[in-house]
């Protein structure tokens, strides 16, 4: 089932595809971020911008993809695709890639995106770059997929010169989505053949609640393992600052806060004007997701915590004392008016 044959002719491959990840009609924000960024690439290459949607009852999703810039939307609409499973999605996607030969395929680096990207890249013998944070395309249409290595000290550019498609999973939050333009209705919707009729996996239960989008927040108070399960001090501070709550992976793993709020290498990239790290040590995987913040404040009992190297302002102190006191001071300040 794998293709070990001679290298393909890249000239046969065209267009930039963006996978629109939807669950039960809700589209993951990263999909629209990628669509906007991919539009920039197609302006350079002259390719069509193609969105692809796999799921059930996708008319609204297709319409929105067009309003957000897609020239064409490929729709695989069938109950077999709801809810998501790697094998039917991968198989369908692969069939579409084989038939229509895209040059570039961008997929959001969500758990779903990273789960199934390889299901396409392996049988297509495509190049797949993981967890990309910058993309560009050169004069020959070669995708320059950049990804941080080792805590962001190094940015590696990964290329795929002799295989197609050039695929990448891209970290949520690094690009800005474009506003939908309701007047933009001239895109084409193509219903593709559904090639899947069976699956080797079955979703027994799915429970998804709050999928907060911390990437949009102007201010963030992030909690780490140091809060020991008590989010109240951080919540109080967040309220005083009109900030969103976020977290390190350690806090997420403990189940204290939802995974949608995780910042870092395997979480989201955030870039608020203010990021307050409360009881977070500052591991490289965490810093990678927050070092685009304008101003970073650290509250930590350990003066040697690496987070202080990545902070503009720090205080060595117990968060259970510092947070309420800080919230108190900030609450009194005219800051509340400024926030409006």
């Amino acid at each position: 089932m794998t293709d070990d044959g001679p290298a393909i002719d890249p000239g046969e491959y065209e267009d930039v595809w963006v996978f629109v990840e939807e669950h039960d009609g809700d589209v993951m924000p990263v999909s629209w971020e990628l669509l906007a960024e991919a539009e920039r690439l197609t302006e350079q290459t002259g390719d069509d911008l193609v969105a692809l949607a796999i799921g059930e009852d996708l008319a609204d999703v297709a319409e929105e993809a067009i309003a957000r810039g897609a020239d064409r939307v490929l729709v695989a609409d069938d109950p077999v695709f709801e809810p998501y499973r790697a094998d039917p999605y991968g198989e369908q996607f692969r069939a579409m890639v084989e038939e229509r030969k895209p040059s570039i395929v961008l997929i959001g680096g969500t758990h779903t995106g990273r789960d199934f990207a390889g299901r396409v890249a392996v049988p297509a013998h495509a190049g797949l770059t993981a967890d990309v944070t910058e993309i560009d395309v050169d004069d020959e249409g070669i995708l320059q997929a950049r990804r941080p290595a080792f805590g962001g000290d190094i940015l590696a550019t990964i290329l795929c010169e002799e295989h197609r498609p050039q695929m990448a999973t891209i970290r949520p939050g690094v690009f800005e989505a474009a506003e939908p333009d309701p007047d933009r209705t001239d895109g084409e919707v193509v219903e593709v053949d559904v090639v899947v009729d069976d699956a080797i996996s079955e979703v027994l239960e799915r429970s998804v609640g709050d999928t907060a989008d911390i990437t949009e927040a102007d201010r963030i108070v992030a909690v780490g393992h140091g809060v020991e399960g008590d989010l109240e001090p951080a919540r109080e501070l967040a309220e005083a600052l009109d900030a969103e709550l976020a977290a390190s992976r350690a806090a997420v793993d403990e189940g204290w806060i939802d995974g949608a709020r995780q910042v870092g290498q395997t979480g989201k990239t955030v870039r608020p004007e203010l990021y307050v790290a409360v009881g977070i040590s500052g591991a490289i995987q965490h810093v990678e997701g927050m070092n685009k913040s304008e101003t970073v404040v650290a509250i930590n009992t350990d003066p040697n915590a690496p987070i202080f190297d990545h902070a503009d302002y720090g205080i060595v102190g117990d968060l259970f004392e510092v947070c309420p006191a800080l919230a108190d001071r900030l609450g009194d300040e005219p800051i509340q008016e400024v926030v409006q």
Binding site: M28, P123, H125, L159, S201, F308, G314, E333
Partner: protein, 258 residues
Amino acid sequence: MTWTIVVGIKQVPDADEVGIDPDTGRLDRASAPAVMNGPDRHALEAALTIRDAVDGEVIAMTMGPPNATSILEEAVAMGCDDAVLISDRAFAGSDTWPTSLTLARAAAELGADVVVAGEETTDSSTGQVPPGIAAHNGWAQLTYAEAVDPRPEEGRLVARRDVEGGYELVAAELPVVVAVAFGEFDPRPAPLHRKIYGENDFEPTVWDAEDLGIEDEVGLDVSPTSVGRMETVDPVERKNEVVDDVDDLAEAITEVTA
């Protein structure tokens, strides 16, 4: 039926010790000690947990240089029944495509019913290898698994997968590749007698590319991706001001938010 549980582990440079060569600006991996990829310890624990629940054996496999034997010894000390080292110069330059092919072939050769792996490695952090193994073999996959529930009577394995904003329970037919979410399985300590056995008496099976019949399908030449440039990124400039009291901190914050 007894299950053969194969667990994939990798030797990586200790992430905390990797420096940057000031002359070349490149990662100086050589100076960092080689250790077991952290997430793989959780994979080992998950594999042993599955064995505790079903009749079966756990075999650790790694693709790496000969000295990667040390992580196999650790795996055996933790409780794996056997281990395989897949080592060959022909693998040099392999990206995730041939790497997952190699591990897929080895898993099939071992007769795996379940392949367990870590979520990603700390040195390349692609997370692509477990789905790649499943794709090469046409097997089911369960990634970001937070809990596993083997159901031998159904011939399936159920996992709770972490997804954005919640979780899902997914059942997969065997053979299945399970990538374990980091932080969910507390690795058990290795008992002393197993450590001694692992270090002194245990020898892994060693396979090369030819043993797996893939000598023409691995290495740099068949890897679809290649590394172009490596740029050092200047660290973000921060003020690094440590203040003594909360009033000063409040003032600094107000300046930012005003």
